[in-house]
């Protein structure tokens, strides 16, 4: 009899095959359709931004981990590419590449690594980067180009600028947006950030993530649902001023925000109940900003504000422990 020796590790001895990098990979896959489409709408430069976002994000994170945080064993998990791609999808195609890179580095350094890296950051890093860019490059970030169907060889510098539908609404009321067709919103034939163009493709991407069990429906449904309810009420009160509910849902990056930004696991609540509250908060704040605030859209700010409430929501929606005695029960 030959006695063999082994290392002793603690239970459980088997693990679910999923890991963080697989989740990130799937998020990237889910964003591919809308990324490809954006190039056909806004020209090849949109693709450049997306590619720089993915690879620049990884490279930036690698440098941070290896040289600043001195982690020799660092294995990339793909979260930096997700941040980079989301940031690219959240800017105007008029943004110069160097400015985008500055925003990306800001997103990863200030939005993520000063807190201790993935998982420790309270705010969505891509949104931190976006707000930084909005403040630092207000003109480039809010100059929107008119979409050009399928002319991907067009360079953004040759494109005609336009206002976003929400800005038009804020300026001129509902009559200013009468010419826009709902189908244009849905398919993506509108001005705006690179990634907010096609609700349809964003939904397809999200459905893919749901099928892969990477995300749940709770945040998007409660977010969009809240926007639907509030905008319906306001629209019924004053259709001249406030725009239709469907318009609010399909414009201003709401779909991109509700499906891909607000659902960032790290910066949203952990329980379904918490997620519903979080989504509702995002929806309400978005509409308050749109109706009463200085910015025409409001998605980024609402999500960032709600990010700050996540610890509170988490402790408020803590599950009842098994066997915990009900009070007064």
């Amino acid at each position: 009899m030959m006695v063999r020796t082994f290392k002793t590790t603690t239970a459980p001895h088997v693990r679910h095959p999923d890991d963080t990098s697989k989740i990130m990979r799937d998020v990237l896959i889910a964003l591919i359709p809308v990324t490809i489409f954006s190039g056909f709408i806004f020209g090849w430069y949109a693709w450049v931004l997306a590619i720089v976002g993915v690879f620049g994000g990884e490279l930036t994170e690698y440098i941070i981990m290896r040289f600043f945080r001195k982690d020799k064993n660092f294995i990339p998990d793909g979260s930096a590419s997700v941040t980079g791609l989301l940031l690219a999808l959240n800017v105007s195609v008029k943004l110069p590449l160097w400015a985008f890179l500055v925003g990306l580095i800001f997103a990863l350094v200030v939005g993520k690594h000063i807190y201790g890296g993935l998982g420790a950051n309270p705010f969505n890093p891509a949104l931190v980067g976006r707000v930084f860019l909005l403040i630092s490059f207000p003109v480039q970030m809010t100059t929107w180009v008119k979409p050009y169907w399928t002319k991907f060889w067009m360079s953004p510098w040759d494109m005609v600028t336009t206002a976003t539908p929400l800005a038009m609404l804020k300026e001129g009321g509902s009559s200013a947006i009468n010419s826009l067709k709902i189908s244009d919103f849905f398919i993506g034939n509108i001005g705006g950030s690179i990634g907010e163009v096609s609700a349809l493709l964003l939904i397809i991407g999200f459905v893919y993530l749901m099928a892969k069990k990477r995300v749940t429906w709770h945040i998007p449904v409660s977010y969009v649902g809240t926007v639907l309810i509030i905008s319906t009420i306001f629209w019924l009160i004053n259709p001249e001023k406030f725009g239709t509910p469907i318009f609010h849902i399909l414009s201003g990056g709401l779909m991109l925000g509700a499906l891909f930004m607000a659902t960032d696991m790290v910066t949203s609540p952990v329980t379904p109940k918490g997620m519903l509250l979080f989504g509702a908060g995002c929806g309400a704040i978005t509409m308050i900003i749109r109706y009463f605030g200085g910015y025409p859209e409001g998605v980024s700010f609402s999500i960032l504000i709600m990010n700050a409430f996540v610890p509170l929501i988490d402790s408020f929606t803590k599950p009842r422990k098994f066997g915990e005695v009900k009070q007064n029960g």
Partner: protein, 436 residues
């Protein structure tokens, strides 16, 4: 039919097919048995034999030393060769060990007097359970006579045939092959507890066992099918699924008028009472991708696991670790000279392919552990509190409600070892409290 279950849990690959169709085989009497004095929860029994003394099979060699303690009997006919110390995998430290060398290949039995349970007093029955050194065979190895004398009124006996740990199939085989013994065991326990109702809970992946048991249902014994989900066989989850009663936080099954016994324990009780045989052997599954022919074995307690791995065809492939028990809660052993114990329900030989390489990352707050926790805790919060040494906060978060089932660590995409942190947290907190 709607399957009974609880909220939370996970679905690890079952891997029962490796061994579920191989009938129980009796392993030869080993040349030497290695008996830890500590075979159960509670205090170690007091040794009754000396080095060099001859012992018979089933002779009592150590006696319960306190309220929570269990007798120990010699599994072989032989001579006490040595009384020494060896690393104890459950305690994680060296512990007293008896080495008994077999002197006769045939057992010379020293059995107890058989009892006709139907006509005897419950007190005599429970005394017998105690005398026979029976402990919970599901894994926790708590002295059974203690569990069977609850200071509270009991209305239901639950027999745990869930066997929710992947890979393990010994309870499945017992239910199929020793159905009648099991039923007799259940009747004895019902008599001891003075209950009219017993429910056998079996996961629905063992339909043949459910059918076999159903032939004997009636007379207060009922069989129910449970959803196949880990940890369906954890006491609190089992009671919740079957009776929809929730054991209060910090409480015991008896607080909701229930006693839970594992099927293997019930069979052992039958043998102790009807046949007069103390607990000297048990059924266990020797399995995993790392052995050539996974089997279900009946082996004397104290058999070195290496011999049982040999019996299962020997090693297969690149073996990463050997585990006592199942893959979710079992204990990895440092070497295979370690013997089986009363609480060893399986020997699991896992290959590198199955265990994989684990690279732990930061928590990404995905919430899967919260969803999976059968105790409705927040494992992501708990492990961080322990890491930050905030023990008091961890306790109010439910540190001591954790049943260490491992569902959280199993499901975590960041491969965080919640269970290791939580076990450590409990240990440190207890030590700190004692220090005060």
């Amino acid at each position: 039919m709607k399957l009974l279950t609880f909220k939370g849990g996970v679905h690890p690959p079952e891997k029962k097919e490796l061994s579920k169709d191989s009938p129980l085989e009796t392993f030869r009497i080993p040349e030497k048995v290695y008996l830890y004095l500590v075979q159960s929860a509670g205090s170690p029994p007091k040794l009754l034999v000396e080095k060099g003394e001859e012992v018979k099979t089933a002779q009592k060699i150590a006696e319960a030393s306190s309220l929570i303690s269990a007798n120990l009997h010699s599994p072989v006919t032989g001579v006490v060769e040595d009384i020494t110390k060896m690393f104890h995998p459950v305690l994680g430290a060296p512990s007293d060990l008896l080495v008994i060398k077999r002197t006769s290949e045939k057992d010379e039995w020293e059995l107890l007097e058989p009892i006709d349970f139907e006509s005897s007093d419950p007190k005599i029955l429970i005394e017998r359970v105690k005398e026979a050194g029976i402990v919970g065979l599901g894994g926790a190895a708590f002295p059974t006579h203690v569990k069977l004398s609850p200071p509270k009124e009991i209305d239901t006996l639950i027999i745990n045939g869930a066997e929710c740990e992947p890979y393990l199939t010994v309870d499945h085989r017992l239910m199929l092959e020793k159905t009648e013994e099991l039923i007799v065991g259940i009747k004895i326990i019902m008599k001891i507890l003075n209950v009219k109702k017993a429910v056998i809970g079996v996961e629905n992946n063992k339909k043949d066992a459910i059918d076999a048991l159903k032939k004997f249902s009636g007379e207060g014994i009922e069989v129910v099918a449970l959803k196949t989900k880990y940890p369906q066989g954890a006491e609190k989850q089992l009671i919740k699924a079957i009776l929809n009663r929730e054991v209060p936080s910090g409480g015991l099954p008896m607080d909701v008028k229930v006693v839970v016994q594992n099927v293997g324990t019930a069979v052992a009780i039958k043998e102790a009472v009807v046949d007069g045989k103390p607990l000297i052997e048990r059924g266990l599954t020797v399995t995993g991708e790392g052995v050539k022919t996974p089997k279900n074995v009946v082996a004397r307690i104290g058999t070195p696991i290496e011999e049982l791995i040999d019996f299962a065809g020997g090693y297969n492939g690149e073996v990463d670790r050997v585990v006592l028990g199942g893959p979710m809660m079992g204990i990895a052993v440092p070497n295979t000279s370690i013997p089986t114990m009363k609480g060893t329900s399986g020997i699991l030989v896992l290959t590198k392919e199955v265990t994989g390489s684990i690279y732990t990352r930061n928590c990404i707050r995905c919430g899967r552990c919260v969803e999976a926790c059968p105790m409705n805790l927040r494992p992501n919060v708990l492990y961080k509190l322990v890491q930050a040494k905030k023990y008091d906060e961890a306790v109010s978060e439910g540190l001591f409600d954790c049943i260490e089932c491992g569902s959280c660590a199993y499901i975590c995409p960041s491969k965080i070892d919640h269970v290791r942190h939580l076990k450590l947290g409990k240990k440190v907190y207890r030590a700190l409290r004692r220090g005060k």
